[in-house]
Amino acid sequence: MTPLDDPALVRVLAADGSVSPTPAAEPYVAAIDALTDADLEGLYRDMVVIRAFDRQATNLQRQGQLALWPPSFGQEAAQVGSARAARPQDHVFPSYREHVVARIRGVDPMDIIRVMRGLTHGGWDPTDPKNGNTHIYTLVLGSQTLHATGYAMGVAFDGLSGSGDPERDQAVIVYYGDGASSQGDVHEAMVFAASYQTPEVFFLQNNQWAISVPVSTQSRSPLYKRGEGYGIPSIQVDGNDVLASWAVTRQALDEARAGAGPRAIEAVTYRMGAHTTSDDPTKYRTSDEETAWAERDPIARMRTFLRGRGASDAFFADVDAEGQAVADDTRERTNALGTLEADSMFAHVYSEAHALIDQERQWLADYEASFDGPQEGEGA
């Protein structure tokens, strides 16, 4: 049984672009039917534009402009659907491949580029309203699930969930993957989330591979079933179906925001690219497998669906042009990025003054200054 054969799977849009809801999808069909043409075209546009950005970033790494790039290629539907389901007041804790989510929440993708170019460890300020309450990437797998859970505890302690006012109540959504699901921190996060009934959604993108190790090594039972063991209602969704991903996340966030406690979602998807630009998938997976998943491409099925609804050639051309423009802009701005002053490494180690840091900062400044001015042997 492949993960997509599970009778619990929620899917509305089949791989061929036809609307054929699975039995588990029935509760979500009405919400999806209510989406307007503009909503649907927006979801498609999100996916296409960020894929163009992601491809450009991959190319920039190949050309030596970035140290590393972890492509989001193939996971656009799970990310667009879940990110568009969140409300502006919600809080987002990504892992490190959530370029789609970050952009939708308002983060400038160049901030991610700066991280991968070696200019910063963070990239953006989660407290700046333009970033849509998006926390920074976490590279140590699963650690952010605990931060999200603590944050969600704080939301509840502050009385900002469960009031019944959807405009005011907040929820937290945390992203992680099938590899991270084996980490102890994810287990502990679910224990705490269940104990404190946090307003939180655990969003697992099962992209089938943790670098070279298949998901069957992480778990012999479908990953969504783990949530039930903690007392967290859990759903499995076709993560390559943007409509189903949107609908299940919207409902889970609504429930969490309303005070019903945490929810977990396993979005079954596929990492169509490499783990990162340092990876070589030909060493561990077959081209047959890649071909089979390419036939389930999240963008292709949405394009077929929209064409069937009568979306115009002009619309598709416009979306492609926007993607190209974002890619061109990314290349231009990457090439224009400057460098860092060495002094900056001392600036934020502590929030308050620290004697040793101050001393080392001064030493480095003096040392660098010692190279200024006339050198020995040079005329004055």
Binding site: D125, P126, G150, D185, Y350
Partner: protein, 325 residues
């Protein structure tokens, strides 16, 4: 106006005052609420402030510290109790990889005022993992501050100052001294959080240490006096950053220094301080800086802790060696 309090009650009083003054202060840990902690340091606080301010958490140290980080991101000031020193390591990743580095990663956008209280050290005859001195792991980690009070008065004030700090603080409590009484002056703090302090004046040798070791150093100094040797004693108080001023002033006047610690000596806090003192006081020294440490073995079964832990005699043996140069 002072009150005599046991060390554990002094920390309790400091926690109570910090919680009363700032409703964003939360206590988190295992058995700290209804039971009041295995050492009763938080006794009565849940009854006074409620279950939302004093959390009996699930039994998972990484989970406690990881969620404390999330709460701090949200503007709370969590004070975490790790039940025993040897139980901090399940939380080590969250402390060193996340808590210590997040503010730097965020370029200062979010401060993480999390305090991690750890009852540390030996002298209580306990089973394995209950008598360790893990300070060097934390002093080696940029982004953390590490402090350790040696008296009830310092316990009362330093816990409040640690909670007030915008940065993460590892707060090492000398568990052997929880029952030791001392005068607590609730009207005014004596020193800033990161200051070291001369606790006994002397002229022949400088003895330096922190936490429970300060009592041992004072005992050694009293014995030395009976043998005609005048020892000055410096209480480190802050393990990171180290306030070198009083130490260097003392060594420049005595010309000799012995550092004592319960932790294993190899790549320890004592190693760092000895190297720095030798760099900065080279011409004032009459003898190399000597260290007295726990041995480089795991903390032994309790019946051997007397042989493992530095006592006044081992400190005096080092003093004799220093004086023999």
């Amino acid at each position: 106006m002072t009150t005599a309090l046991p060390f554990s009650r002094a920390i309790n009083a400091g926690l109570r005052r910090a919680m009363a003054e700032n409703d964003r202060v939360l206590l988190m840990g295992e058995d700290i609420g209804r039971l009041g902690g295995v050492f009763r340091v938080t006794e009565g606080l849940q009854a006074e402030f409620g279950e939302r301010r004093v959390l009996d958490t699930p039994l998972a140290e990484s989970g406690i510290v990881g969620t404390a980080i999330g709460l701090a991101m949200r503007g709370f000031r969590p004070v975490v109790e790790i039940q025993f020193d040897g139980f901090v390591f399940p939380a080590f990743d969250q402390i060193t990889t996340q808590l210590a580095k997040l503010t730097n990663r965020l370029e200062g956008a979010i401060s993480l005022p999390v305090v991690i209280r750890i009852p540390y050290g030996g002298h209580i005859g306990a089973v394995e993992h209950h008598q360790e001195s893990p300070e060097a792991y934390f002093t080696h980690t940029p982004g953390l501050r590490v402090v350790s009070p040696s008296t009830p008065n310092d316990g009362y004030w330093m816990i409040q100052d640690a909670i007030a700090s915008a940065d993460p603080v590892i707060f090492l409590e000398p568990k052997a001294k929880y029952w030791m009484k001392g005068e607590v002056d609730e009207s005014a703090r004596a020193l800033p959080l990161h200051a070291s302090r001369v606790v006994r004046r002397g002229t022949d040798v400088t003895l330096v240490g922190h936490g429970a070791m300060v009592s041992t150093l004072l005992q050694a100094a009293a014995l030395a006096e009976s043998e005609g040797v005048s020892a000055e004693v410096v209480d480190l108080r802050s393990l990171s950053p180290v306030d070198y001023g009083p130490i260097l002033d003392s060594v420049r006047s005595t010309g000799r220094m012995v550092y004592a610690q319960e932790a294993p000596g190899f790549t320890s806090l004592g190693s760092e301080i000895a190297a720095t003192v030798m760099e900065r006081c080279f011409y004032a020294l009459e003898a190399p800086v000597l260290r007295v440490s726990g041995f480089d073995t795991p903390f032994p079964p309790a019946k051997l802790e007397g042989a493992y832990l530095p006592d006044p005699d081992r400190i005096l043996e080092a003093v004799d060696r220093a004086l023999a140069y």
